[in-house]
């Protein structure tokens, strides 16, 4: 890492789809020095170990597997003149902006005119979900499983149970199949699969029982998982013999850098609080990709990264409006989980994020109400499920609105 500069116009933290897209865009728009840092030995982010389709349609108009897609992103960025430095870990975000780093060679610091945070997401661990029982080997997230299987050809179990029915849970099934791992069941606490039909049929196609309304109570085993206890829809507990548990989904932004920094964190999303340009509470910092919200596709994050990259180029050229005053947008009630962006600056400049992104905590049906000072400014029908993409245009906020904007759901009577 001897060629890691002390200063760059833009430093980007995270070489996944969002970070690489932003970097490429910044170079294309003439920003001289763009440095992307990643703590892994290889750039490319999560798609590196998602060895399945479909990637790249939006970006490259080609149908690619994850690793090929990641390689394509890296090549495109490098061809645009982006400097990528791997095995560099950012340990602290400083005002300035500046970053404290650790590298294999020791401690470093780098300053920049602007910093973009693209640190992505991870799955919620077994611990954070307070799953009971003991702690044998063989309890892994999908991310860890894919790393072992695709990067290294290692097999942590043969007959695991998959906990969760999100898209990533089905991705875990495909990963298992890759090395001849045969899951014995798929367990979902809710009454329906989280991911959209027809993926719900997928496990049945593979001959894997899908157990809805089923709660994982306890994990058993010593060196390796030997079984799990579950409680089914009928309230009865049951033991399932298995040698592993794939704890999938429940993504959360990897926001530990943010949380120990001076930047504002949004409690709802767990990620950075931003305006419609992707600008953080310190306008030297921007954020894009899944750090903003759990969880979107690689293609979405790529598009978002490119748009925020454009906004950063505008900011460097003095073409963005000042960050204040801004209308602060907040969800109320318990139906809405998050809304991004959280601040809207009155401006004619084209936003990097043209639509609000929302998520709900549970299945919700009713009307989405946008109000300020008690007066409803806008309302629309909403019929939504958890973990599904919901967007509404920023134009639901009247031009020139300032002060707090409340967004909530008035649910239909059950």
């Amino acid at each position: 890492m001897t060629d890691l500069p002390l200063h760059a116009d833009v430093v980007i933290v995270g070489a996944g789809p969002a970070g690489l897209a932003a970097a490429t865009e910044l170079r294309t728009r003439g920003v001289a020095s763009v440095v992307v840092l990643d703590r892994e030995p290889q750039a490319g982010g999560i798609p590196r170990h998602c060895n399945h389709f479909p990637y790249g349609l939006r970006e490259f108009r080609r149908l690619l597997r994850g690793p090929a897609y990641a390689a394509h992103l890296v090549e495109t960025a490098k061809a645009a003149g982006v400097q990528i430095h791997t095995e560099v870990t950012v340990t602290r975000l400083l005002e300035g902006p500046a970053l404290q780093l650790t590298t294999p060679g020791g401690l470093r610091e780098i300053s920049a005119r602007h910093v973009l945070l693209c640190t992505g997401v991870r799955e919620t661990s077994r611990a954070a979900r307070l799953i009971g029982g003991v702690k044998p080997g063989g309890v892994v997230s999908t991310g860890a499983l894919q790393g072992m299987v695709y990067l290294d050809g290692l097999r942590p179990f043969r007959r695991p149970v998959v906990l969760g029915t999100e898209l990533v849970s089905f991705s875990a099934l495909m990963t298992c199949r890759h090395l001849g791992i045969r899951p014995v069941a798929m367990i979902e606490p809710a009454g329906r699969t989280t991911a959209r039909w027809p993926t719900g049929l997928f496990p049945r196609v593979q001959g894997i029982p899908l157990m809805l309304n089923t709660e994982l109570l306890a994990i058993e085993g010593r060196d390796q998982v030997t079984g799990i206890m579950v409680r089914g829809a009928d309230g009865q507990t049951q033991r399932i013999e298995t040698d592993g548990v794939i704890v999938s989904g429940h993504f959360r932004p990897e926001s530990s850098l943010l949380r120990t920094s001076h930047l504002d964190v949004d409690q709802g999303s767990g990620g950075a609080e931003i305006d419609q340009f992707g600008r953080c509470s310190d306008p030297g910092y921007f954020a894009a990709g899944n750090l903003l919200r759990p969880v979107e596709t690689a293609g979405w994050s790529w598009k978002e990264g490119r748009a925020v990259g454009r906004a950063m180029a505008q900011s460097l050229a003095g073409q963005l409006p000042p960050p204040e005053p801004a209308a602060v947008v907040k969800p109320s009630g318990d139906a809405l989980k998050l809304i991004v962006p959280q601040r809207i600056v009155p401006s004619d400049t084209e936003p990097a994020l043209p639509r609000f992104q929302l998520r709900v905590n549970r299945a919700v049906k009713g009307r989405l109400l946008v109000s300020a000072k008690g007066a409803v400014l806008f309302s629309t029908a909403i019929n939504a499920l958890p973990e599904r993409r919901i967007t509404v245009p920023l134009t639901i906020i009247p031009a020139g609105a300032s002060g707090p904007i409340d967004i909530n759901v008035k649910e239909d009577p059950a």
């Binding site: 611990a127 860890a144 179990f157 007959r159 045969r182 060196d223």
Partner: protein, 482 residues
């Protein structure tokens, strides 16, 4: 590397059964006294029983029963830790503690507890009003009534300490045998002959430091036991590092008759923990986590520090205390049999271990064996797993040539892992590697680094992380066939 196989004619001066913090401390003490020691551990790695999960506090012993063996061992253990920790490279976080009263009844009990502290020679305690308490700890709930401060209660690294004790013993010629279960034995002609899962081990003296199995080992070797172990489970929640800013002191409750109660404190690794519970159970091996109990712990934590409501949980764990029917430690020397039982070390073992070791050493003098204290013992330094130490010792990630970070959440470097994998106490399992280096113990619990770690440890752990990855094929096919 220590021989994990020994010549069965070797006669050791003492055989220690059990590689918990107590066994490690005794191995160190007796080795420094010039004895040839062997330590037998039945698990893949040391610290796999009661010493696996605790609150990681170096207690002064202010609340121990005055005059008890426990109080004496804690005082001696505390003093020795302060004396030797720098020489072994061990951390000490001078946090101090507050004993918190949340009701008028609890407040009324504070003066008596302070008297008890003074009786235990912990003199510098001071009573604080609610306002004074919250001035020291602004994150505390406004429901606080009063507290008293115990400045000498410190935070330590619960695994590096025993590892350092045993590493020093090994560096000075002690032998460690793991995966070695004692199945029987007899004392004859001034010698013990122990049958183990790894063959015969001979020694002049046997020291039973088997923790949760102490009574069973006594039964096996003496044909009787003077106490019975009643495992007492303690569940804990560990919060992510940002939560550590919510409290600087160790926050202790007013204790009850059976337990010190729910503690909230930072950890040496920069997290914040809440726990333990105190739950009697029969199972000596499995400490099951119970979601409802963990949720209740979370709630209790939030009642004490309301800011915890917004903090993420990093880890959950449960430990088993080797409690007996007696309140005090059960340490007995058997004259004529060259045998010492070290049992019933419930919950204060980390603080008292070095003191217990001195006590055992004194008891062994009754067995009429010569001591030749080493004139110039080796003092190995353990790796540092603690950021922001008061002695300014850096972590490896802050040093050049660390070969890069493998575990991103805990900033564990490749060099640290490599170093541990090739040292005399090289772990045989992932659990052991975690305790030595903290890999996968952070917020992602292995999401990011499991694959890299499986690759790095490939063929180097006797009990591997993943199938088909065994140094000696043990367990390679343990998952059966489909």
């Amino acid at each position: 590397m220590p021989p994990d196989r020994i010549n069965d004619r070797t006669l050791f001066d003492a055989v220690i059964i059990g590689g918990g913090v107590i066994g490690c401390a005794i191995a160190r003490r007796l080795t420094l006294d010039g004895w040839r020691i062997i330590l037998l551990e039945k698990a893949h790695d040391i610290l796999d029983g009661a010493s696996k999960g605790n609150s990681a506090i170096l207690h002064t012993g202010f609340d121990a029963p005055p005059g008890s063996l426990e109080a004496r061992c804690m005082a001696a253990g505390y003093a020795e830790y302060l004396e030797i920790h720098k020489k072994l490279g061990l951390p000490l976080i001078r946090s101090g503690a507050l004993v918190l009263a949340w009701s008028d009844e609890e407040e009324a009990r504070l003066p008596a507890l302070m008297d008890q502290a003074r009786e235990n020679a912990v003199d510098n305690v001071s009573l604080l009003s609610a306002a004074e308490t919250r001035k020291l700890e602004p994150g505390l709930s406004s429901a606080i009534k009063a507290s008293f401060q115990v400045p000498g209660e410190y935070l330590i690294d619960p695994w590096s300490a025993p590892h350092a004790y045993l590493l020093q013993a090994i560096a000075n010629q002690a032998v460690l045998l793991r995966d070695c279960k004692v199945t029987g034995g007899h004392f004859d002609n001034g010698q013990w002959r122990l049958d183990t899962s790894q063959g015969v081990v001979r020694g002049k003296i046997v020291i039973n430091a088997a923790g949760l199995y102490a009574d069973i080992v006594d039964d096996r070797l003496l044909g009787k036991h003077d106490f019975t172990i009643h495992p007492r489970k303690g569940q804990f929640i560990v919060y992510d590092k940002p939560a550590a800013s919510l409290a600087s002191h160790i926050l202790l409750p007013v204790p009850s008759a059976t337990t010190k109660g729910i503690v909230v404190c930072r950890t040496a690794f920069g997290n914040l923990l809440v726990g333990p519970t105190a739950e009697e159970q029969d199972d000596r091996q499995n400490a099951g986590l119970v979601p409802e109990t963990l949720a209740a712990l979370r709630q209790r934590g939030e009642e004490i520090l309301p800011g915890l409501a917004h903090e993420d949980v990093t880890a959950i764990y449960a430990g088993l205390r080797p409690a007996s029917e007696f309140k005090d430690y059960q340490i007995h020397a058997r004259a004529g049999q060259n045998y010492v039982t070290v049992g019933g070390i419930r919950s204060t073992g980390l603080s008292s271990a070095l003191g217990v070791a001195r006590h055992v050493q004194a008891l062994c003098e009754g067995f009429d064996q010569d001591r030749n204290p080493l004139a110039d013992p080796i003092w190995p330094q353990v790796g540092n797993l603690v950021d922001d130490r008061d002695d300014k010792r850096p972590r490896d990630w802050q040093c050049p040539g660390n070969d890069g970070i493998v575990c991103h959440c805990e900033l564990v470097t490749r060099r640290e892992i490599e170093s541990v994998l090739s040292d005399p106490l090289a772990p045989q399992s992932l659990a052991g590697l975690k305790r030595r280096t903290r890999v996968t113990m952070g917020r992602c619990q292995g999401f990011y680094c499991s694959a890299a770690l499986a690759k790095l440890t490939h063929g180097r752990l006797k009990h591997p992380m993943v199938e088909g990855d065994s140094a000696d094929r043990v367990g390679a096919d343990k998952v059966g066939n489909d």
